[in-house]
C-alpha cells in the first residue's frame, strides 16, 4: 500500500540551487524523519517553476500551497506547522506586489494567471531525473503514436499544419524545414538540438533541459523518424552543468526503457542521441557555425545556401532546431494542429517563453500565448517596475534586438509585430529598463558583448563592431563629438548589410534602435557632456543643495575626501576630485545631495 499522502516539490533549477535548494531538500527530509513522517511525505526535486525572482520555491501537494524565498532554516517550521499540524506558514507565502495580498495558490497569482504553458508544461511538475514521471504525464506517447500509426510524411504534414515556427529567433516554419530534409535523399541524416543559449539574460532553454529533458529527446526522435535520421546530437554549452547532467540521466533512462536505441516500440526505427559540449561561444548559436563546431572545426559560420537541410553535418542533410521548439513538438503531436492553431495570432501560433529580467518585480520565466501585449507581460505578470519607478524601455531579442518604448507597450507580440517596431523575437530574452537606466550605456553594453563574441571571420563584424564600441565608449566618457552620431549610423547600416551571419547582421540593432528612440540621451552625452540618468560615471556631477544641514555624514563616507564644509554649514563637492561613486548620495538623509 502506497502511504504517501503529500508531495513537497522543491525547485531544482540552477537559480534555486544557487540559493541552497539542495540544502532545503536535505533539511526537509531530516525534519520529516525527526517527526516520523518520512514514509508518508515525499520530497521531490523538480524543474524550474519560472518564478526565479522569488526562489527557492517549495510547493506542497495536494493542498497546492506555494512557498517562496524559502531558506534552509525554514524547513523545520514547514514540517512542524504545515505537515504535522496542517497550518500554512503564512510568512513564506507570496506577497502580490500591487495588491499586497498574501497568495497561497499559484493559480491565483498574477504571475501565473496569464501564462499558458506548453513548452514549460512539465517544469515544476515532474522529477526530471525520473522517466516514469514523464511517462505519467503522457511522455513518449507522441513518439509511440508517430511510429506505430503515422507515416513520416504524416508527421511532417501535421507539424506543417500546426504552423509551429522556430523559437530560436528566426521563426522559420518547422514543418517546411523538416520537409526539405526529408526530401533530400541521403544514406545518413542528422537531427541537432541547438542548446547553445547565449543571449544575456535568456535562460528558457536551460530551464527546459533541466526541468523536462525527455520532452526534447522525444521530439528529436520524432524528428529523426520524420526526416529519416538515426542520430541526434544536442549541442550544449559546457556552462550548463546541471542541464548536461540531467540530459545524461535522461538519455540513459530512455535507452534502458527502449525509447531510444534500436527498434524503438518494436518497429525498425532506431535513433540515438549524444551530447556535444560547446565552449560557450555566442556565434555557435548560428546553425552553420554550430555544425562546424560539432565537426570539430572552429565555430565559424559559412555562406548559405547550401542550407543544413541539404548539406549540413559532414555534408549530410541536417536539421537544427532550438530546445524550446522541440519542447512544443510532443504536445502538438498529441493534441493536434487545430489545437495549436487556436492559440496565438494570425502569423504566429502557440506560445513563447520569455525570460523576464531587469528592473521588474517578478523576475522569471513566463510562457504566454503569442499576441499577448508587452504591458500584460511587464505589469500583470511581471508585477510592474521595481520601486514603482517609471518604465523606460524593454529590450527584446537580446543583443540582436532593439528597444521597445512606452509607445509600443500595447503591441500584441509576435514575430512580425516585433520586427515592425524595430526589434525582434530572438530567443526571448526580455530586459526591462526604468527611468534610471542610461540608454547609451545599454547600447554600449550590448556592443561590448557582440564585438567580444564576433568570431572574426568577416571584416564588417570583426572590425565594425569594435569601432562602434569604441565610439560608444568615447561618448560615455564625455569625449563624444557631433560627428559620432553620423558615424555610428553609417557603420551600423554597413555592418548590417555586409556581415556574413546573423550575429553581425543584427549586432548594430541595439545602437540603431536606441538612437531612434532616445536621441536626446545621445545628444546630452555629446553636446552637454551630461548623462541624464547619472549612470555614466565620467559625466556624473554630484552637487549639494540648500537642504544641507552640515551633518558631515557625506564627508565621512567620501573615499576621495573631496567634500568640504564646516559642521552645521552647507558643504561643497570638489567636482574635479569627485569620482561620482554616489556614496554621499546614499548616505544623505536630507535629500541634499543632487544626483546628476
Amino acid at each position: 500500500m502506497n502511504k504517501v499522502r503529500s508531495h513537497i516539490m522543491v525547485c531544482g533549477g540552477t537559480g534555486c540551487i544557487a540559493s541552497e535548494s539542495d540544502v532545503i531538500i536535505k533539511n526537509l527530509n531530516d525534519a520529516l524523519k525527526k517527526q516520523g513522517y518520512d514514509e508518508e511525505i515525499d520530497v521531490i526535486k523538480t524543474g524550474c517553476f519560472g518564478f526565479c525572482g522569488q526562489g527557492p520555491i517549495v510547493k506542497v501537494h495536494p493542498d497546492n500551497v506555494f512557498y517562496v524565498k524559502v531558506k534552509p532554516d525554514d524547513c523545520d517550521e514547514i514540517v512542524a506547522e504545515h505537515i504535522v499540524k496542517g497550518r500554512v506558514v503564512e510568512r513564506l507565502l507570496f506577497d502580490e506586489p500591487i495588491t499586497e495580498e498574501k497568495v497561497k495558490e499559484h493559480s491565483r497569482m498574477n504571475f501565473y494567471k496569464k501564462q499558458y504553458r506548453i513548452a514549460l508544461r512539465n517544469c515544476g511538475l515532474i522529477n526530471p531525473e525520473d522517466i516514469t514521471e514523464y511517462i505519467a504525464f503522457q511522455g513518449y506517447e507522441a513518439l509511440g503514436k508517430a511510429l506505430t500509426d503515422m507515416k513520416p510524411q504524416d508527421v511532417i504534414q501535421l507539424l506543417t499544419d500546426s504552423n509551429l515556427r522556430g523559437r530560436g529567433g528566426g521563426g522559420f516554419p518547422l514543418g517546411r524545414k523538416w520537409g526539405m530534409a526529408a526530401n533530400n535523399a541521403s544514406d545518413k541524416k542528422y537531427i541537432i538540438c541547438n542548446a547553445d543559449e547565449g543571449d544575456p539574460g535568456a535562460f528558457m532553454d536551460r530551464s527546459i533541459l533541466e526541468g523536462d529533458p525527455h520532452s526534447v529527446l522525444e521530439a528529436m526522435a520524432i524528428g529523426g523518424y520524420a526526416i529519416g535520421a538515426d542520430e541526434g546530437i544536442i549541442y550544449i554549452r559546457a556552462e550548463y552543468p546541471l542541464a548536461i547532467k540531467r540530459l545524461e540521466i535522461a538519455i540513459k533512462q530512455a535507452q534502458e526503457y527502449g525509447l531510444l536505441g534500436d527498434n524503438i516500440f518494436g518497429t525498425d526505427f532506431s535513433f540515438n542521441v549524444r551530447l556535444k559540449l560547446g565552449a560557450g561561444a555566442f556565434v555557435c548559436g548560428e546553425e552553420t557555425a554550430l555544425i562546424h563546431s560539432v565537426e570539430g572545426s572552429r565555430g565559424e559560420p559559412s555562406i548559405k545556401p547550401p542550407y543544413p537541410a541539404a548539406e549540413g553535418l559532414n555534408g549530410k542533410p541536417t536539421i537544427v532546431n532550438n530546445v524550446e521548439t522541440y519542447a512544443n513538438v510532443p504536445a502538438i503531436m498529441l493534441k493536434g494542429a487545430e489545437w495549436f492553431n487556436s492559440i496565438g495570432t494570425a502569423t504566429s501560433k502557440g506560445t513563447k517563453v520569455f525570460a523576464l529580467a531587469g528592473n521588474v518585480n517578478n523576475v522569471g520565466l513566463v510562457e504566454v500565448p503569442m499576441g499577448t501585449t508587452l504591458r500584460e507581460i511587464i505589469y500583470d505578470i511581471g508585477g510592474g517596475i521595481v520601486g514603482g519607478k517609471a518604465f523606460k524601455a524593454v529590450q527584446t531579442g537580446g543583443p540582436s534586438g532593439g528597444v521597445i518604448t512606452v509607445a509600443d507597450l500595447d503591441t500584441p507580440i509576435d514575430y512580425e509585430s516585433l520586427k515592425g517596431i524595430g526589434s525582434m523575437m530572438g530567443s526571448g530574452g526580455m530586459i526591462v529598463m526604468d527611468e534610471t537606466d542610461c540608454m547609451v550605456n545599454i547600447a554600449k553594453f550590448y556592443l561590448e558583448f557582440t564585438q567580444d563574441e564576433s568570431c572574426g571571420k568577416c571584416t564588417p563584424c570583426r572590425i565594425g563592431t569594435k569601432r562602434m564600441y569604441e565610439i560608444l565608449d568615447r561618448i560615455c566618457s564625455g569625449e563624444g563629438e557631433a560627428e559620432d552620431l553620423h558615424k555610428l549610423r553609417e557603420l551600423g547600416e554597413m555592418i548590417k548589410g555586409s556581415s556574413l551571419c546573423g550575429l553581425g547582421q543584427t549586432a548594430p540593432n541595439p545602437v540603431l534602435s536606441t538612437m531612434e528612440y532616445f536621441m536626446n540621451e545621445y545628444e546630452a552625452h555629446i553636446f552637454d557632456k551630461k548623462c541624464l540618468t547619472g549612470t555614466c560615471k565620467a559625466l556624473a556631477k554630484y552637487s549639494i543643495n540648500d537642504n544641507c544641514i552640515g551633518c558631515t555624514a557625506c564627508v565621512k563616507v567620501c573615499p576621495t575626501k573631496c567634500i568640504t564644509g564646516k559642521v552645521k554649514e552647507k558643504h561643497v563637492i570638489d567636482q574635479d576630485a569627485c569620482i561620482a561613486c554616489g556614496a554621499c548620495y546614499d548616505v544623505c538623509k536630507f535629500n541634499a545631495v543632487v544626483k546628476p
Binding site: 499522502r5 495536494p62 504535522v84 506505430t148 534502458e256
Partner: protein, 130 residues
C-alpha cells in the same frame, strides 16, 4: 525494462500515474472532492493521524482519483476530534466529528461513493465555510 509497443507504454503510464496524481495542476480545481482532516494538537492527540491514514487507504483501495486529501489546522471542534470536513463540488460542506478509522472508511465508502451521509457523526451540515 524495455517498452516494446504503444500498449506497453500506456500500461507503464497507468502504473506511474498513481505516483503523481497528487499533483493536480490547478486547472480542474473546483471539480475535485476535498476531504479535510483537522490536524491541530487536539486532533492529533485524539488520533487524527490514524483517521488520515484510514481515509487514504480507503481512497486507494477503491481507486478514487478525484479526491484531494488535505490536512488542515484546528477546525474549532476540539470536543469532537478527530474532525473531518467533506467538500463535494456544488454541495454544502459536511463536518463530521469523532471520526475514528472505521468511521473514516464509512465516510469514503458511504458518503463520497454513494451519497449517503454517515449518521451519528455529523456535527454540522451546511454552513458557510469553504
Amino acid at each position: 525494462m524495455k517498452i516494446k509497443s504503444l500498449d506497453e507504454l500506456i500500461k507503464m503510464r497507468e502504473a506511474s500515474v498513481k505516483k503523481v496524481n497528487l499533483r493536480e495542476t490547478g486547472e480542474n480545481a473546483g471539480e475535485t472532492i476535498e476531504l479535510m482532516v483537522g490536524m491541530a494538537t487536539c486532533g492529533i492527540a485524539a488520533g487524527a493521524r490514524e483517521t488520515l491514514q484510514s481515509l487514504m487507504e480507503t481512497i486507494q483501495t477503491n481507486g478514487l482519483d478525484n479526491i484531494k486529501l488535505i490536512q488542515v489546522g484546528c477546525l474549532g471542534f476540539c470536543h469532537s476530534e478527530p474532525t473531518v470536513q467533506l467538500n463535494m463540488p456544488n454541495q454544502e460542506p459536511v463536518l463530521y466529528g469523532n471520526v475514528d478509522k472505521d468511521t473514516a472508511k464509512k465516510i469514503v465508502e458511504d458518503h463520497v461513493m454513494n451519497g449517503k451521509l454517515v449518521d451519528n457523526h455529523i456535527l454540522i451540515k451546511s454552513f458557510d465555510k469553504a
